[in-house]
Amino acid sequence: MVNAMHEWALAESIIMAVIDLAKRENAKEVVEIELLIGGLQTIDLEIFEFALNELKKETIAKNAKIRFVKQKPKFKCNVCGYEWIVDDLNKVLSEEEIESIHFIPELSHVFMKCPKCGSNDFDIVEGRGVLLKGVRIVK
């Protein structure tokens, strides 16, 4: 059910943060919200966008343009130093694993290993998930 999906929670965090930031800056209006969309979290962007638009209604951000910057998940191994990008999670993970990572991206440490040395001890360098990158306001 589209209206129940957890993307709503992610959107709610973003809108609450944007409103608070705007208020603290004494903004008249929020004109743009820039969001990083990391591919590891595999969010449903359509639903996420729908939720953002619903939630910003009747707020200081109601007219804000939302810009998404997509980022592929990139990892770096702490053991051997190898860096890699995953283009398609479906090639290395089961549906169930992708679902767990969808809720908590750090669980990629449970289900993924460094392709070179086999270690779970890597860093998620970029492309983790949803991130508030910038807010443009007018005062």
């Binding site: 709610e12 809720f103 908590i104 750090e106 440490h109 990158k133």
Partner: protein, 244 residues
């Protein structure tokens, strides 16, 4: 931009909870998980609405005590804690990881914690009991940072090794100006003197002792039987006297 948006939703979803109680010790194996789980059962049987949150991501085990095998979360603009009974809710990373190992460094642990807290939907419950991992790392520091109104119960055995580690932790709680409800002495065989002395020395409440109960192990996984143990009776008295 260095604002973590998730923190806003955490404050909101936890905002409706009357009492958030972290069960801590610094020391492992003193009974934090046991006391968290059994205390939650006791409170819920008494009619309070209760949440139990397992934050031992490296070794989640509340579900084992409660005998829950196939828990799945329902999505509702976030995820709903699993409803065990009509007034007992439960959240753990267990359904996501099952029996796989969970090797997370501190930074990842912290990020996982914040993500998890930010997508959970807690009702306006009376108690949220938080089962904390051992140590004084990212999970403890983040709970202190993100939920400054949480209260703490420190668990210790009567062994010097436990006493000294719990002592460090309690000093941290006090210095951080957080509310410590008091100390529970667990797995007591004959004496609880060291635990009582620690409470006195640090001027904190001694909440009571829970005996070592050899029959308890066989009730693990069966909440009804757990409530009949000597362990549960002792904890019930503590709950009635100090928590409710």
């Amino acid at each position: 931009m260095s604002v973590d948006a998730r923190i806003y939703r955490i404050k909101k979803t936890l905002g409706g909870i009357k009492n958030i109680i972290g069960v801590v010790s610094g020391k492992g194996g003193v009974g934090k998980t046991t006391i968290s789980a059994v205390m939650s059962l006791i409170l819920s049987v008494k009619g309070y609405s209760v949440g139990l949150l397992d934050l031992d991501f490296h070794g989640p085990s509340c579900h084992t005590i409660l005998g829950i095998k196939d828990l799945e979360y329902e999505e509702e603009k976030g995820i709903n804690p699993y409803r065990i009974t009509k007034n007992l809710y439960f959240a753990s990373i267990y359904p996501f990881v099952k029996d796989e190992y969970v090797p997370l460094r501190g930074k990842a642990l912290s990020n996982a914690l914040i993500e998890f807290l930010s997508i959970l939907n807690w009702r306006k419950i009376d108690y949220l009991i938080v089962d904390m991992p051992p140590g004084m790392g990212d999970i403890l520091l983040d709970i202190v940072r993100l939920i400054p109104n949480s209260k703490f119960i420190a668990v210790t055995t009567n062994s010097v090794l436990s006493i000294q580690t719990v002592g460090r932790l309690i000093k941290f709680i006090i210095d951080s100006r957080l509310e410590l409800q008091g100390i529970i002495a667990n797995m007591i065989r004959n004496y609880d003197t060291r635990a009582r002395r620690l409470a006195e020395e640090l001027s904190v409440n001694f909440l009571g002792s829970v005996p070592f109960d050899a029959d308890y192990e066989n009730t693990i996984g069966n909440p009804q039987s757990i409530l009949g143990t000597k362990l549960a009776s002792a904890l019930k008295e503590i709950v009635e006297r100090h928590i409710t």
